[in-house]
């Protein structure tokens, strides 16, 4: 296999040892490529020195204590039949509170919907938590987006890697912002997989990334 300066970047991306070997062969006669390869190697050679190691004799004890305390925490109480003897005493007051809450919530929903939106639709669209089945469906939709985005990213990557024109640089920056938003949303979703709002936002960001990549490819072709 023969290689020249144009193959350097592809070789540095990894995954093709034969190409890297060919580029190394080429670099023996090309100072620019030799310098690039050598600097790349110096970074890799220095990287293991960034590994940190220090004694923290108290850390496991603290973690153990925290986990032990966590294991002692009572599980959420299981629902048991209502203690009627106790509940009856509070029934009139509870009924008044419940009536007030229902009336207030109804008024709030009616006002926010401008009096036009049916109540059933309102709860369907504003539901704060997803069911297990809905989460599976949303995750399937996310996978579809990811598959599409991966394909587009592979096409766009070579164009963006050496981007110098302002429009390509803008696209690159926008994609970086979207990637950061995706990481942030995923981190939040890891805390609560059933949060509808976060899931919708993540899908919206995926959609935006897909559109951005499509527009980028159109831009490159035109």
């Amino acid at each position: 296999m023969k290689a020249d300066c144009r193959d350097l970047e592809k070789a540095l991306r990894g995954g093709d040892p034969a190409l890297l070997a060919a580029v190394e062969q080429h670099a023996q006669a090309c100072l620019a490529c030799r310098r690039e390869l050598e600097e790349w190697r110096q970074i890799s050679a220095a990287a293991p020195a960034l590994k940190k190691s220090w004694d923290s004799p108290e850390l496991w004890r603290e973690i153990h204590g925290m986990l032990a305390a966590e294991s002692q925490r009572p599980a959420p109480p299981a629902r048991s039949p209502a203690p009627w003897g106790f509940g009856l005493r509070w029934l009139p007051a509870a009924a008044i509170v419940a009536l007030f809450v229902v009336a207030t919530a109804g008024l709030w929903v009616f006002r926010n919907s401008g009096g036009r939106e049916p109540l059933a639709n309102h709860w369907q669209t504003k539901e704060p938590l997803l069911t297990e089945q809905a989460v599976d469906e949303v995750e399937a939709a996310e996978k579809n987006y990811l598959a599409s985005i991966d394909k587009l990213s592979k096409l766009a990557e070579p164009r963006l890697a050496g981007a110098t024109s302002p429009i390509l640089v803008n696209y690159k920056e926008k994609l970086d912002v979207l990637d950061s938003a995706i990481v942030e949303l995923k981190a939040s979703i890891d805390q609560n997989r059933f949060n509808t709002h976060l899931r919708k936002e993540l899908l919206a960001v995926y959609g935006e990334k897909q559109r951005t990549l499509q527009n980028l490819m159109k831009e490159v072709k035109s």
């Binding site: 220095a46 293991p48 986990l67 970086d176 990637d179």
Partner: protein, 204 residues
């Protein structure tokens, strides 16, 4: 590097596992023990992965106190979430994913060390290996990288994760992991080159 390389190496040190099959067995034992809330299993998990977790957290967060807080918080999240773990990735990479997300959350909340001078702890605690003249320059330049690029660099180049493992930690595919590492190294090269940090390359 082969898939499971870090896992295998870490466990070998602790005499837990040697071959791929044994790694999988250890993984299953970790998963089952953690799901059952077994504290001895958590202790073995800490012995096997505590070192790399602390190292990654310190390189991401910049000081020992925050790094230890992040490791502690990650273990608590694993304890609480092990029963819900669905097995989409290996249990160990899930552990590192929780750690990286915890570090990201801490950085986002504190909004302090993204730019500016190198925090003292990172600079002072040298590597386990013998020190390298480029170490400080890389540590300074790393702080200017995007979080994902920095994380992939730390996982693959510093801690020796394979791209498959790093991809599982970041919930991306292997190609994306390769691309992130390429971008990270390219930016580091630019920064180090403009700072004149590299050893000169022989002309002849």
């Amino acid at each position: 590097m082969e898939s499971g390389a870090v896992l295998s190496r870490t466990l070998t040190k602790k005499e837990f596992a040697l071959s791929g099959t044994e790694v999988r067995t250890a993984e299953t034992e970790f998963l089952e023990g953690c799901r059952a809330g077994s504290l001895p299993t958590f202790e073995r998990l800490y012995q096997a992965h505590g070192g790399p977790m602390k190292s990654i957290a310190l390189n991401l967060l910049g000081n020992v106190a925050d790094a230890e807080d992040a490791v502690q918080e990650a273990f608590l999240k694993v304890y609480r979430g092990a029963r819900r773990f669905r097995g989409g990735s290996s249990f160990s990479t899930w552990l590192y994913r929780i750690l990286v997300n915890t570090c990201y959350d801490l950085l986002r909340k504190r909004r302090r060390r993204a730019e500016g001078p190198l925090p003292a702890d990172v600079a002072l605690i040298s590597g386990r290996e013998s020190d390298h003249p480029l170490r400080l320059s890389i540590e300074v330049a790393l702080r200017r990288l995007d979080f994902r690029e920095r994380t992939v660099f730390l996982l693959c180049e510093v801690e020796g994760f394979s791209h498959r493992e790093a991809a599982e930690v970041l919930d991306v595919n292997e190609n994306t992991s390769r691309t992130l590492l390429f971008r990270a190294k390219k930016q580091l090269q630019r920064s180090l080159s403009s700072a004149g940090a590299f050893a000169p390359v022989e002309v002849s």
